[in-house]
Symmetry: C2
Subunit: 326 residues, 2 copies
Amino acid sequence: MLIDNLQYANWSSKIFTQMREGGVDAVHVTIAYHENFRETVLNFEKWNSWFEEYPDLIMKGLKAEDIDTARSTGRTAIFFGFQNPSPIEDDIGLVEIVHTLGARFMQLTYNNQSLLATGCYEAEDSGITRMGRQVIKEMNRVGLVVDMSHSADRSTIEAASISERPIAITHANLHEWQPALRNKRHEVVKAVTEAGGMIGFSLYPHHLKDKSECTLESFCEMVARAAELYGVSSLGLGSDLCQDQPDTVVEWMRVGRWSKEIDYGEGSASLPGFPDMPAWFQDNRDFGNIKTGLRAIGFSEEETAAIMGENWYRFYRDNFVPSASG
Amino acid sequence: MLIDNLQYANWSSKIFTQMREGGVDAVHVTIAYHENFRETVLNFEKWNSWFEEYPDLIMKGLKAEDIDTARSTGRTAIFFGFQNPSPIEDDIGLVEIVHTLGARFMQLTYNNQSLLATGCYEAEDSGITRMGRQVIKEMNRVGLVVDMSHSADRSTIEAASISERPIAITHANLHEWQPALRNKRHEVVKAVTEAGGMIGFSLYPHHLKDKSECTLESFCEMVARAAELYGVSSLGLGSDLCQDQPDTVVEWMRVGRWSKEIDYGEGSASLPGFPDMPAWFQDNRDFGNIKTGLRAIGFSEEETAAIMGENWYRFYRDNFVPSASG
């Protein structure tokens, strides 16, 4: 079982074929960064056209059991998520609508303040807003998972407490290992995982120690440290692979439509584009290296299988369906 | 089994309760006349709120088997349809999106020319358009039924021929019985039913002989005539019940946003509003009268059961799912 809980590639038959070559059973793909509802629907439509065009490589994923179907038919199940709540605009009724269309994760913020919470780039973190509390409740009801990957600390800790179902940090690493703005401090990961939530480890170089030069061993040492602190069952992968995207896309991720000035985010004026991926993780065919690295660092076969996909499978099974009371 | 294949009421707990009192197992309800995509989504949202508020009375219907669930749990299954293709705008990708959200019937026109076909109030009927041919093919693929209730004759006959799956006239009567603009001529009903399609008989007074004064016997005589011409298996009900709607709503149905001048449609300057329903069909509790009338006119118990709901059940079962090749 191999599940990657975050990718935003420039999708093509090449990449879908690489998913099959790499034995990737399921991927959570981002379909909105700054899009409003109608624009997000266009992205759902684009995926529908890919499902129609590549029925032997990919299939739409709505529930954990769809991964079993994907495995038995030799395909990769694609699950959808938003990195921003922009698709629901100011309309709580859209939470159920986007879930019906297939959304399964939604970040409450993408770097900036949103209508729901505070992003990790803001100077002040005022926590979960009035609308944010209502939306978390509605997300809990329908089975849309709260993702706080790009949120600020207080907002994340409050979300973990307010949410009646587990939440997720789909793609980030430990701040103590690499003190990047997007990596997560101990108290944040503790709050999320103690509430039954998960963290998916990122392979995006700005989140790695020594960035593009990060070694596989160092990455796996961080995973081992996280296992000591939070337990193996809270850990998974969320590679943040942005394969084949032009540099204009990372600029758009950072600036969207909210600023007239350039913002380099995790990059810099001298390195404004996508950084090079580490040599041991170039694309979907390289997950075997991570598996090997986890075994080498001392994880058992069972623990390695849990981190590589079984934990996300269990999380999907429990959290993508409506709540028992809903 | 009791299925009414067209209603557009001013929905309330009162009406949902009357559905239960009348033993109505399923209703196809209109959720768009002139709405664009985003406005139609607001109507889906409104229904989601009713499903949440009245879980003991109604449930969302997506496939025929949901009617079995509704029956076994004492509820009415609600199926959605559009009287106009305005919800898909000029975007064929929205066909699959609205099907995913729950739409199961879509009229290609509402009285006027649309992007897809010609409506029954136009002076010239130019048939199915270029986009219309593409959209029918896509509707066939995903399982969204072509409804031609408000379309012109040539467009309807062409749609029945172009469509690879049966189409429907969800709510209209025989033109030879009551020569209203909205009632259907022999060659039109013949084309639809010979291609496996169905007609649902309307109880809207403008479609009835003697309008509000129409007798139950006369209505049932028309059904018997249709059975002779097209066979019992092509017949069902589509009452067009617009219970508790204010007269502003029928004006909006007729004029929408397309005209600055008033258009009385089937009404007149002296009778601009909703006409009175016939005494024997006031609301959802009166379907028993029709059943009695059909038996009295000579239909067998089996034939009556087919017309009252079993035919629509079979039609739903065969046509709401993706095509085998899709």
